[in-house]
Symmetry: C2
Subunit: 407 residues, 2 copies
């Protein structure tokens, strides 16, 4: 078939680098910090087995038939209750659309907002699979530089005046990949600017409740008088990803468009899966489960931070996330994380180079390490191997300097 | 929010008319031929309850974790086996991608093939939700005229020479909405043309196995030496729609692009749902179940055909489908099915006007009637009410003629 038989967007599409790395790291002998997998031993398999059977026996016909695009109303009501009590939002069930994973929220966002060539602002770094979804519309990207408190606001208003973006995409809480959380001051200041210029804000809250430390934060919806914020969230990280149930929360004007687009995208998210999750939430203590998950991940985060502090060579910085699943490393400028990865794989340890997480100007000396999917002793073992490889790589990269110092 | 904040494609998007009609017809007092719902009493709820519990107990972690985009390999192997033995195809598991319903197959098709302004050929009439999915890319449509044997081939080659389409979309077997099935001769002739001009062919096989009568047919893939055919199919109509498990079968060159695009669309279809369907297929007799479904639908089709023959006024033609879920009506030219629908709703019977099923030049005097979702006695009762309303509408539309005849 001739290449031009395909849509133009396909020319820029390739399988995700992370996905390709994950294929290599599936080998059981590899200690992998590469994926973004939740700890499967925390999945409530037994409870879901009981609920699934009861659901099919009691409401099987409803669960297995076609259902409204918006999603299962009792689940949308539960989500509202949660968002309004725990997240500090003010949403109603009619402002919630159930999606097939949060990735679908990103795909629907592309369709609702983006024409070819439109400008999208993202954090630098940002979630690479969001870029993958947006790329279907072939937009342009500009980055917003970040520090440990989130997006740096200086200079943003000048840019808004000159060339305002069609939308901005941000992950203010326990960001993937950096693990960073925006301060309340930044959240407020950012939304003041976006409100002033009427820019739609896509807020990715996939990790919102995966919090280990006391830290103050709230949804950007709390500073959204004009209804500009589209909030994406998911059960994948707090319950399990395999059921593919997530949601979008937005003002009536925006959510109505998401619903229309979802209808032609996949009609609806599995009603069975939605009803199953609702039954689980109704019959079990979600907060207790969440505490268990937080305790487990806190121990793993602590193990990774301690091991990195102990093992890493001088000149490497890393984040200490208060939640989420990832630590972000900034290594010396002359380190290429792709070369380091090759060295690490030989030592049976894996991670994801940070380059692809940048919308532009990717930095080759960065890396993302996941801590949610391995027990503490494996984390320590993996970090030791990683640090050893990094030290070797740093040495290998400085032969001239080393030699000239010897002279 | 300003209207131009949204993507241009949103201007042409509205909630599906069928969906809006379905909302009205949800009222229990209405006899509805409007939807396209399978008979829920045939859903294997008890069997799935047992399998779901066993699956979560035995393989819960795998079912609830992230999984490869391509889909669950044993299910893809089962699909290949089925397609190669029953459908007469020649496919391998690596040519199968599991999708979240067949509607997602249409969405992925849009992304893989369509740029703005591209020309798509469809049957006239065609499946309206396919147009909904394609509209995301803002293509142009041209229709291929059909008769009882499928697409009429006369004149197609002239058009292929002049302005070849980017792709064609067809439903050769038990078409929604017309119920028609292409003859073998038309299938062969159509594929000869498409092969000669190298046009990708999207073949929608959603109803492929929902056959009541002996009729010869095969997938267009049987006449596809160049690997141009993308075959969409689903478990929705033969098992249940609520699990949202369907598939795309295509040559390696094409399926690899569908996989890349699905990755950024929703990562994967629920692994749990895929494994659940596979367990059901492995542990139960699918063919026996299919026979039961065919017997049930045949009785309903027969009841509707008999009632239509008996009750309809002169001058109305309708199809006698050998499979699928729909009968298509062509009423006198001066009848507007939308006005008829309003009259019918007052008589507590509903259907879908045919107008929206046309890619262009919609015919207002057509209607789609579903027979899969009501028992025979309700079908007879509904057809009587429908025929009565149609007779009234025909009379109301000819006052001048009637009056002048009286003079």
């Amino acid at each position: 078939m001739k290449h031009n038989r395909f849509a133009r967007r396909m020319a820029g599409m390739s399988a995700s680098e992370v996905r390709e790395i994950l294929k290599v790291t599936e080998r059981p002998e590899i200690l992998s910090f590469a994926g973004g997998l939740p700890a499967p031993e925390l999945f409530p398999t037994k409870e879901l087995a009981v609920q699934a059977k009861a659901l099919l026996e009691e409401e099987g016909i409803r669960a297995l038939q076609y259902a409204p695009t918006e999603g299962y109303l009792p689940l949308r009501e539960w989500i509202c209750e949660r968002m309004n009590t725990v997240w500090g939002s003010q949403v109603t069930p009619s402002e919630i659309l159930i999606t097939s994973g949060s990735q679908q929220g990103l795909d629907l966002t592309t369709k609702v907002f983006l024409d070819e060539g439109d400008l999208v602002w993202c954090e630098s770094p940002t979630y690479l699979a969001a870029l993958g979804a947006f790329n279907a519309a072939m937009p342009r990207y500009e980055e917003m530089v970040t520090d440990q408190d989130g997006v740096i606001l200086d200079g943003l208003e000048e840019r808004l005046k000159k060339t305002p973006p069609k939308m901005v995409y941000v992950i203010p809480t326990f960001q993937n990949p950096s693990g960073r959380t925006w301060s309340m001051e930044r959240r407020r200041g950012f939304m003041e600017l976006m409100t002033k210029y009427g820019i739609p804000v896509i807020e990715d809250n996939a990790y919102y409740e995966v919090r280990f430390d006391e830290v103050e934060y709230c949804s950007l919806k709390s500073f959204d008088p004009e209804g500009l914020v589209v909030s994406l969230a998911s059960f994948s990280k707090v319950l399990c990803p395999g059921l593919r149930v997530a949601w979008v929360a937005a003002s009536p004007e925006i959510i109505s468009r998401y619903i229309i687009i979802k209808q032609s995208t996949d009609l609806q998210t599995s009603n069975f899966n939605q009803m199953l999750i609702y039954r689980f939430l109704k019959n079990h203590d979600f907060d207790q489960r969440l505490e268990q998950l937080r305790d487990t991940y806190r121990i793993r985060r602590d193990a990774m931070v301690a091991a990195l502090e102990e093992e890493l060579p001088e000149g490497v910085n890393f984040t200490r996330p208060a939640g989420g699943m990832f630590i972000w490393l900034e290594m010396p400028e002359n380190i290429d994380a792709h070369a380091l990865l090759q060295r690490c794989l030989k030592a049976f340890v894996a991670f994801v180079p940070g380059f692809t997480f940048y919308p532009e100007n990717g930095r080759r000396n960065t890396a993302r390490l996941n801590f949610s999917n391995l027990p503490p002793e494996k984390i320590r073992q993996g970090v030791r191997a990683f640090a050893h490889c990094l030290a070797e790589e740093m040495e290998a990269r400085q032969p001239q300097a080393a030699l000239s110092a010897e002279k």
